[in-house]
C-alpha cells in the first residue's frame, strides 16, 4: 500500500478576469520509503501540489490519502520544508528546531536532545544559540530541514530547498540528504527545477506537464547510492528526464530552469 497518495487532485485559482486551472487531476502514489522527485516547468503547480499534500491548501476535487485513509488539514506526519525556509527570526536556531516538539508538549530536556541530534546531523551544532539573521542562506536551509526532521514525520515534503544555494553547498547537501534518507527511511516528496538534482536524489521522478498540470511521466531510478553528480549512468537518466521536461517548458514559454 502507498504511504501517501494523491487521487485526482484539481486546483483552480481566480485571477483577474479568468479562472486558472493549475492542477488538472494529479494522480501520484508514493510508496513507504520512496524518494520521489517532482520536476516541471515554472508555475505549473508544484508548490501548490506540495501544499495540498501538506494539508495547507485544499483541492477543488480529489483527495489525499495517508496510509490509505483520506486526510484533510495539516498533520505532524506530513511536514513541509518551504521554498522560502520560513524560519522564525525571533527564535534561536535550537528553538526553531524544537518548535513543533514544544507545541506537542514534549518536555524541554527531551526537546533539546532531539534538536541537538538533528543540528549535529546538519553540522550546525555550533550555531544552536544563534539567530537566523546570523546564518547564511545554506545554513538557514539546513536548519529548516533539521526542524522538519525533528518532527519525525512519516512524509517529508520539500519545496526546492536547495534552489538558493551555491554549487558547493548544494553538492554537499545532495550527499547529506541521501544519507539522511537512507538512515531515517522517510518517504520524501522533493520538488526541484534542477534535473541533475532529481536524478541524483530520486528513487523515482515524476515529470509534471505544463498548466493545466498532470503527471506527464514517472521514471524509476535504480542507480546505486550515494550518487554523485558526474557518472555516465546518471547523465543518461538526466537526459531521459530532460527529454520529458523540455517540450513542457517550451510549451510554457519559460526558461529551462537550471
Amino acid at each position: 500500500m502507498a504511504k501517501i497518495e494523491a487521487r485526482g487532485i484539481v486546483r483552480h485559482f481566480e485571477h483577474a478576469g479568468y479562472r486558472l486551472r493549475a492542477l488538472d487531476g494529479i494522480d501520484l502514489s508514493v510508496g513507504d520509503g520512496d524518494f520521489l522527485c517532482i520536476v516541471g516547468p515554472s508555475g505549473c503547480g508544484k508548490s501548490t501540489f506540495l501544499r495540498i499534500m501538506a494539508g495547507l491548501d485544499a483541492p477543488d476535487a480529489g483527495e489525499v490519502l495517508l496510509d490509505g485513509k483520506p486526510v484533510s488539514g495539516t498533520g505532524p506526519e506530513r511536514i513541509l520544508v518551504f521554498q522560502e525556509g520560513a524560519l522564525f527570526p525571533w527564535l534561536k536556531v535550537s528553538d526553531n528546531v524544537e518548535f513543533g516538539l514544544k507545541m506537542a508538549g514534549i518536555p524541554g530536556r527531551e526537546r533539546s536532545q532531539i534538536s541537538r541530534r538533528y543540528l549535529d546531523m546538519m553540522q550546525l551544532a555550533d550555531f544552536a544559540g544563534s539567530y537566523t539573521y546570523q546564518l547564511s542562506t545554506g545554513m538557514k536551509q539546513r536548519v529548516a530541514i533539521a526542524r522538519a526532521l525533528a518532527m519525525d514525520p512519516d512524509v517529508l515534503l520539500m519545496d526546492e530547498p536547495f534552489a538558493a544555494l551555491d554549487a558547493q553547498t548544494r553538492d554537499l547537501l545532495l550527499v547529506e540528504t541521501q544519507l539522511i534518507w537512507q538512515k531515517t527511511k522517510k518517504t520524501i516528496l522533493f520538488v526541484t527545477h534542477n534535473v541533475a538534482e532529481a536524478a541524483v536524489l530520486g528513487s523515482r521522478v515524476a515529470v509534471f506537464s505544463n498548466r493545466p498540470s498532470r503527471v506527464r511521466r514517472e521514471l524509476a531510478i535504480s542507480l546505486p547510492r550515494p550518487r554523485v553528480g558526474a557518472d555516465e549512468a546518471l547523465a543518461r537518466v538526466q537526459r531521459e528526464i530532460l527529454a520529458e521536461l523540455r517540450p513542457e517548458v517550451r510549451r510554457s514559454g519559460g526558461g529551462e530552469g537550471e
Binding site: R51, R78, I79, E84, F88, G100, T132
Partner: protein, 257 residues
C-alpha cells in the same frame, strides 16, 4: 542610526548645546526684560528642583505619576494587543470594531477626563482610566497592522508543526508582529504620558500634573518650570533608554536591519 549615536563627537556637541542654552537662559533672565515672577533664571529653577527633591515632594510626584502611567499603560498594552489581534484575525471584529477604533484613536486623551471623573471619581482609578484609554487604540492599531503584515509562511509553518489557537497567538502571531507592536507601545507610552499629566492637572490629585497646577495657583513660575523639566527628562530617559534600546534589539533580532 546605531553608528550615528555612537560617534564620539556627538555627545560633546550635545553637551555644548545644552550648556549654551542654559547660558542664554541665564543671560535673558539677567537682562531683566521680564519680571522674575514671569521668567525665572535657571538658578531659581534649579533651586526649586533641589528644594522639591529635598522635601520629597518631587520624588513623590514622580512616583505617583509613574505608577499611574505603568498601570494605565500595561492595561492598554494587554487590551490593545488582544483587540488588535482579534481585528486582524477575525473578520467580523474588523468589520465592526475596525472603524470605531480608528475614530476613538483620534480623541485626545484629555477629552476622556470628564468621563473618567464621572465614572471613576477624581482618584487613581479615574486617572488610570484616562491614561489607559488614551493609549489602548494606538496599541491596537499597530498590533493589527503587525499581524496583518506577518509573512503567511510563518503561520503555515507553525500550523504544519501543530500550533493551534492560543499557541499560535503566543508563539507566532505576537512575536512575528512584535516589531510593529513596539511602535504601538512607543506611541502608547507617548499618549499615556501626556494623558496622565493632563488628567492629573484636571483632577488635581497628586502627581506631576498636580504639582504643575499647584505652581500655577501659587504663581510659582520656577516650580512650574522645574516640574516641566522633570517631565521632559523622564520622557527623554524612557525614549532613549527603554525604547531605543528595545528597538535596536528587536530590529536586529528580527533581521530588519
Amino acid at each position: 542610526m546605531r553608528g550615528a549615536r555612537r560617534r564620539p563627537g556627538s555627545r560633546a556637541v550635545r553637551l555644548i548645546f545644552y550648556a549654551a542654552l542654559v547660558a542664554a537662559w541665564q543671560a535673558a533672565a539677567e537682562a531683566d526684560v521680564w519680571p522674575d515672577e514671569v521668567f525665572p533664571s535657571p538658578y531659581e529653577v534649579a533651586e526649586d528642583l533641589a528644594h522639591g527633591a529635598a522635601d520629597g515632594s518631587l520624588l513623590h510626584g514622580v512616583g505617583t505619576s509613574m505608577w499611574r502611567l505603568l498601570a494605565g499603560l500595561s492595561m492598554a498594552i494587554a487590551g490593545g494587543t488582544a483587540l488588535g489581534i482579534a481585528m486582524a484575525r477575525v473578520r467580523v471584529v474588523n468589520q465592526t470594531m475596525g472603524s470605531l477604533v480608528l475614530g476613538l484613536q483620534s480623541i485626545p486623551s484629555v477629552a476622556w477626563v470628564p468621563l473618567g471623573l464621572i465614572w471613576y471619581g477624581p482618584f487613581d482609578a479615574g486617572i488610570i482610566f484616562v491614561t489607559a484609554i488614551g493609549a489602548v487604540f494606538a496599541v491596537a492599531i499597530n498590533t493589527y497592522t503587525g499581524v496583518k503584515n506577518i509573512d503567511p509562511h510563518y503561520v503555515e509553518a507553525a500550523r504544519n508543526m501543530g500550533a493551534r489557537g492560543g499557541q499560535l497567538v503566543t508563539n507566532v502571531l505576537i512575536p512575528a508582529a512584535f516589531p510593529y507592536m513596539m511602535s504601538g507601545f512607543k506611541q502608547g507610552w507617548a499618549f499615556a504620558w501626556r494623558g496622565v499629566i493632563g488628567a492629573e492637572m484636571l483632577f488635581s490629585y497628586l502627581g506631576m500634573g498636580s504639582l504643575l497646577n499647584i505652581g500655577r495657583f501659587t504663581n510659582d513660575v520656577s516650580q512650574v518650570m522645574a516640574v516641566m523639566l522633570v517631565i521632559m527628562i523622564i520622557g527623554m530617559v524612557v525614549d532613549g533608554l527603554v525604547f531605543r534600546r528595545l528597538d535596536d534589539r528587536v530590529m536586529s533580532r528580527w533581521g530588519l536591519r
